[in-house]
């Protein structure tokens, strides 16, 4: 298929349909409302479901009810809305239902702002809702990757029977870029007869299915959490995705950055390379599971004297980077969290000042 020019939010909506998701529930919030506006038009064309819920709280449970029936389902929101959905995300994780959540992040805390941000890193990767659960979190760097990740997200949600999140910042939702939708994409068929509440008649059985997260017996609950943990451990083995940028060079410093911020870092790295200064970058494409080994090994390179985590937050991912580097090199944070994005020049200045000290 030829490339088309699309806004990130609309491309995510189209990607969901192409991945076989015919069910979408959402509540409007800037800067992601275009997904809902796009799918309000598009879903009826494919005999799909579009429903604007009364709140993000309710939408979270519409997703839960639909996912528990074994149907592909997605919602999109932005930071304050994702906070409200986090209760449902915990229940969905506890009840082991596949569902796709998209967070087009804006600044916080509180109402914050409506400009791009990456300040929900902790919320997405460390919990957000209550209890011992993890989200498989993918972070696209642009519109094409947002499409690719959205299409893959449904298969992954079903593989692990849990919620998967796409973390884009506001810029990825709002900017237009050329994208290509794969023509040969076939969703992996899901066999959910052993758990989904799809109706006994649908399954041709007299055995009913229960979708629940309540386990009052301590041993049962512990066993259930061990089962969830086994899934998260398998993600750590099988789903880690990252990009190494200029990591073959003898770089003096290693950047760790993701999403829109990493695109700016790439420009800065290219400029410094022209000047003869080698800088490497590891760009996590999955925030959970985190590319722990890749960052550890990249920091260990003999030429590398420093690691800096560059984020649109006040220093969240840097805690994971520090954990992975394990004291081999100094690890620091650089970034902004008001809605402005550091320029390549600012990044270059900061990198040079780190190397001077």
């Amino acid at each position: 298929m030829a490339k088309v020019l699309m806004k990130g939010n609309e491309a995510i909506g189209e990607a969901a349909i192409r991945a076989g998701c015919k069910n979408y529930f959402a509540y409007p919030i800037t800067p992601q409302s275009e997904v809902a506006e796009y799918l309000a038009k598009r879903m009826p064309e494919v005999d799909g479901v579009f429903l604007q819920g009364e709140s993000e709280v309710a939408v979270g449970y519409m997703i839960f009810g639909a996912a528990a029936c074994g149907e592909r389902v997605m919602t999109t929101s932005s930071s304050p809305g994702v906070s409200l959905m986090s209760e449902a995300i915990s229940y969905i994780a506890g009840a082991r239902c596949p569902a796709v959540f998209v967070n087009i992040m804006r600044g916080g805390p509180g109402l914050g702002g409506i400009l791009p941000s990456q300040a929900d890193y902790f919320q997405a990767t460390k919990g957000g809702g209550h209890g011992d659960y993890r989200l498989l979190v993918m972070a696209p760097e642009g519109v094409q990757e947002a499409v690719d990740m959205t299409m893959k997200a449904f298969d992954l949600a079903e593989k692990y029977r849990g919620p998967v999140m796409i973390m884009g910042d506001g810029l990825i939702g709002q900017m237009m870029e050329p994208v290509e939708f794969p023509e040969d994409f076939t969703p992996t068929p899901m066999n959910n007869d052993d758990w989904a509440t799809s109706g006994m008649a649908t399954r041709g059985t007299d055995k009913r299915n229960l979708v629940k997260s309540l386990f009052l017996d301590p041993k049962q609950l512990n066993d259930h959490n061990l089962l969830l943990k086994a899934g998260y451990d398998r993600m750590r083995q099988e789903e880690v995705r990252y990009e190494g940028y200029n990591t073959d060079a003898e770089y003096k410093l290693l950047i760790v950055s993701y999403g829109t911020m990493s695109r700016v870092c790439k420009t800065a790295i290219d400029t410094m390379k022209e000047e003869g200064l080698e800088i490497g970058m590891v760009r996590p494409q999955t925030l959970f599971p985190f590319p722990e080994q890749a960052i550890h090994d990249a920091a260990a390179k003999e030429s590398c004297s420093h690691v800096v985590s560059i984020e649109l937050s006040m220093g969240q991912m840097v805690e994971d980077v520090d954990r992975c580097v394990k004291g081999q090199r100094p690890v620091t944070w650089y970034g902004e969290c008001g809605g402005d994005i550091p320029t390549p020049e600012e990044i270059i200045d900061h990198v040079k000042s780190l190397l001077k000290n």
């Binding site: 479901v49 009364e54 839960f64 528990a68 149907e71 009840a95 007299d206 229960l210 309540l214």
Partner: protein
């Protein structure tokens, strides 16, 4: 003589955890009988609330989902939108539905979602131990209203049927009780109507059942029935508040 009485197919063999004198058991049975009579058990998904009926899925023998507190109507919405061929019902108490879940129930009813709600109103929080509910009567004692409900501070009890009846969207809204055998048959008729409206894809349907809670009211089961009839029924009048034919 042949068998004249048996357990509905839509109920499991499990013993319930409900307290002696609690009316949940009667209502469970009525819902199960209706499911049997309409022949819908194999196409039905129930949604359990948070509260005393949280483990309703142990007693109904059909597919079941368990909701978070108050969110059952949103889950039923999700089910019916993606699988309109299935039958869905929520079974909710007064804390779940009229307090924390007020937003979800009003909007589901207003969208005219094609599912059925069974609303158990016993004017108190049962599972958490007798705290004040939005439906607790003025002066009625609760663990969080030890001197009795002070309506100056907490307002008057919310009447859900009256409130939902104000919505312009067509629906079936009925209040019944199971305090005496004569009421039980009427309650079953209303529950059956509610499921039939759903089966015909007509409208949202809601049946409130004025119920008892001897344990948290601190009364014997018999005194509870009398207190409910004397105190609750005058404030929560029985009858059909709205039908889709109107």
């Amino acid at each position: 003589m042949g068998k004249t009485f048996s357990k509905p197919e839509a109920l499991t063999d499990a013993h319930t955890h409900y307290c002696p004198g609690c009316t949940h058991g009667i209502v469970h049975r009525l819902v199960a009988e209706v499911i049997d009579e309409l022949g819908i058990r194999e196409n039905t998904v129930g949604i359990a609330p948070v509260g005393c009926a949280v483990m309703a899925y142990n007693y109904f023998d059909c597919d079941f989902q368990e909701a978070a507190h108050g969110r059952a109507p949103a889950m039923a919405t999700g089910i019916k939108r993606v699988r309109p061929d299935l039958m869905a019902f929520t079974y909710q108490g007064d804390g779940d539905l009229a307090s924390i879940g007020m937003g979800e129930i009003v909007h589901a009813a207003n969208r005219g979602e094609k599912f059925t709600t069974i609303f158990i109103n016993n004017a108190i929080y049962g599972m958490t131990g007798g705290q004040m509910a939005p439906t607790t009567m003025p002066g009625q004692r609760a663990t969080t209203a030890p001197a009795g409900r002070d309506v100056e501070a907490t307002g008057m009890p919310i009447r859900m049927c009256e409130l939902l009846s104000t919505l312009a969207t067509p629906g079936y809204i009925s209040r019944q009780t199971v305090l005496k055998p004569k009421y039980v048959n009427k309650a079953k008729k209303a529950i059956k109507k509610a499921f039939e409206y759903q089966k015909e894809n007509r409208c949202y349907s809601f049946v409130e059942i004025v119920s008892t809670c001897p344990t948290n009211w601190g009364m014997t089961p018999l005194d509870s029935l009398k207190w409910a009839e004397d105190t609750l029924l005058p404030y929560y009048p029985l009858g059909e508040f709205k039908t889709p034919e109107e």
